[in-house]
């Protein structure tokens, strides 16, 4: 028997495989394919205070080993969530994490206050890749001051586990990890999508209605892995690795580089069972390598070097 569990403070996860926000809906979309209670946790689709219609079609473009999306946080808002979705996710048998988003710090605060009261949501993931309207649309997560502020304000009103999800579109992601750790984040997750673009050469137009969009999938894995390694070596809080994880071997790269857990994103589109397969693969690997606790492999490459 191997121990696959990990913890963020006193919040225990039965294993290190979570699903990434925006790629797993509210979980129930995958009911026909897997038993979500097998997973360490699921991060729900990004929620905002008010309902959002998101961006115009086309919102998606395929790229080499990846995809661009410009969904723009289409969701029905927190009221609808509380009334109609929360009752459905209550009994999932795994940790349900809400991913929160806003255009103003006040949005984040209001959301965090509301979610603080939802008994079965033990953690939020603060998505700071959203454009900060007061900063002319520059993402909270690409400006140290904004990142600090939003984390501080949310921390002040939110008493459960706070995971801050970092943007990779920065010169030095370690600075951001340190700042949010200082402000009381219990964990950081990374990476969110890389800002990218695609052009439809036949029609001589941008492939996305928004011209630029977020790149995800295996293409981003090397960048994600580098950032996770840098951050894991710089902070004390647990790091959750995200970015292009398609197989158990991809997940292990992140764990060996220092991530305590991983989130599976785009992979769920190609194989809705990816997350559970990855979990099985990790368990087998640990057994085969002769370890008994996943903690023994977290950050292993630093020790052997």
């Amino acid at each position: 028997m191997v121990n696959l569990g990990f913890s963020i403070g006193d919040l225990h996860f039965k294993n290190p495989v979570l699903t990434a926000s925006g790629t797993f809906g509210y979980g129930s979309e995958f009911d026909d394919f897997l038993d979500v209670s097998k997973l360490g946790g699921i991060v729900l689709k990004g929620t905002t205070l008010e309902p959002r219609e998101g961006n115009l079609y086309p919102r998606m473009a395929e790229t080499p080993s990846g995809m661009l999306n410009a969904v723009g946080l289409q969701n029905k808002g927190i009221d609808y969530f509380e009334k109609f979705i929360y009752p459905r996710v209550l009994n999932y048998g795994t940790n349900i994490i809400m991913n929160i988003n806003g255009s103003y710090i006040e949005d984040y605060i209001a959301l965090a206050e509301r979610i603080n009261k939802l008994e079965r949501i033990p953690a939020i993931e603060l998505n700071i890749s959203c454009p900060n309207v007061k900063m002319g649309g520059m993402a909270f997560g690409t400006n140290l001051t904004s990142a600090r502020e939003v984390t501080r304000e949310v921390r002040a009103v939110y008493s459960k586990k706070l995971i801050v999800k970092l943007s990779p579109n920065v010169t030095n992601i370690v600075d951001f990890a340190r700042v949010v750790e200082e402000e009381g984040a219990d964990s950081v997750s990374l990476i969110n999508t890389l800002l990218g673009m695609s052009v439809d050469v036949t029609n001589m137009r941008p492939a996305l209605s928004t011209i630029t969009g977020g790149l995800s999938g295996p293409a981003v894995k090397p960048v994600a892995l580098r950032m996770v390694w840098q951050v894991a070596n710089a902070v004390r809080i647990p790091v959750i690795g995200i970015g292009g994880i398609m197989s158990f071997s991809d997940a292990l790269e992140f764990l060996l580089a220092g991530a305590s857990a991983v989130q599976v994103g785009t992979a769920s589109f190609i194989d809705p069972q990816s997350s559970v397969k990855i979990l099985e693969g990790i368990e087998n690997y640990i057994i085969k390598k002769g370890f008994s606790d996943i903690k023994e492999i977290v950050g292993y490459i630093n020790r052997s070097n």
């Binding site: 925006g22 790629t23 797993f24 809906g25 979309e29 995958f30 026909d32 394919f33 689709k45 219609e53 998101g54 115009l56 079609y57 086309p58 919102r59 998606m60 473009a61 395929e62 790229t63 080499p64 080993s65 990846g66 995809m67 999306n69 969904v71 289409q74 999938g217 295996p218 785009t266 769920s268 589109f269 190609i270 194989d271 809705p272 069972q273």
Partner: protein, 255 residues
């Protein structure tokens, strides 16, 4: 109906012309009760350019044989790779996905309109309608007679009318200009094909107060309502083509 992910076996690959082919698929488990208009998310193996699955409609179903067909037109590397599959090859599908065409009311006069490879879902729809006691008319548009595909199959379902852009078969022009649209009265039209064609048929239907359903072919990532990439702007807000569609009543679309 539960969605499933399954390895199916290719038991036929019939090439209709340079760029259209029909794959026949069968599996070890009983095929599901398909509804007309549904589709599958097809994984394309061995194509480095194809990262995501490709949505493909259910074209024809043979419950006796426990097999079904998909009709594909080569559009890029994904469909090209699929065209090379041979008997015994494995194809991984997530299916059945999406809503379906609604059943007409008793005594309704029904017309199916298809253009190019947009005819794919109409064969199964036609068979379904016939099995339910309807005798639909079928209006198919092609570029020219070399592009005509599966035309014989439709004769087993109802009256078939053809247009070609160059007049090499049937009436010359687009489906929307076919004389049957003025000669006969329809209560309901099901349409699948290029957007311009569907929009023209939608306008025609709205104008004549005919119930009209179209099957959209938006870009998809997940196919199961998880990613919100495949949206279409409707009177009810942005809906997902993959779960709220692909079939929409044109009155719901902002066309």
């Amino acid at each position: 109906m539960a969605k499933r992910i399954e390895d199916l076996k290719v038991i036929g690959n019939k090439h209709l012309n340079n760029d259209s082919f029909i794959l026949e698929l069968s599996g070890n488990t009983k095929i599901p009760d398909f509804k007309p208009g549904q589709f599958a998310q097809v994984r394309v193996d061995g194509s480095p350019d194809t990262f995501l699955r490709r949505p493909i409609s259910i074209h024809d179903v043979d419950y006796g044989k426990n097999a079904f067909k998909i009709l594909i037109q080569i559009a890029g590397m994904g469909t090209k790779t699929l065209s090379k599959l041979g008997n015994g090859d494995i194809l991984n599908l997530i299916y059945p996905l999406g809503n379906s065409f609604s059943l007409p009311s008793l005594n309704e006069q029904v017309l199916l309109v298809g253009g190019g490879c947009g005819i794919a879902p109409l064969l199964f729809l036609g068979r379904y309608l016939k099995a339910n006691g309807f005798l639909p008319d079928i209006l198919l548009g092609f570029r020219n007679n070399a592009r005509i595909i599966e035309f014989e199959e439709y004769h087993t379902i109802g009256n078939v009318f053809i247009t070609t852009e160059d007049g090499s078969m049937g009436e010359k022009g687009y489906v929307t200009s076919h004389t049957v649209l003025t000669a006969r009265q329809y209560n309901r039209i099901y349409c699948c094909g290029p957007y311009t064609m569907m929009k023209a048929i939608a306008a025609y239907s709205k104008n004549k107060n005919i119930i009209c359903e179209v099957s959209l072919e938006n870009l998809m990532a997940c196919g199961i309502g998880a990613c919100m990439c495949c949206i279409v702007d409707t009177v009810k807000g942005n809906l997902c083509t993959c779960i709220d569609g692909p079939v929409f009543n044109v009155n719901d679309l902002k066309w």
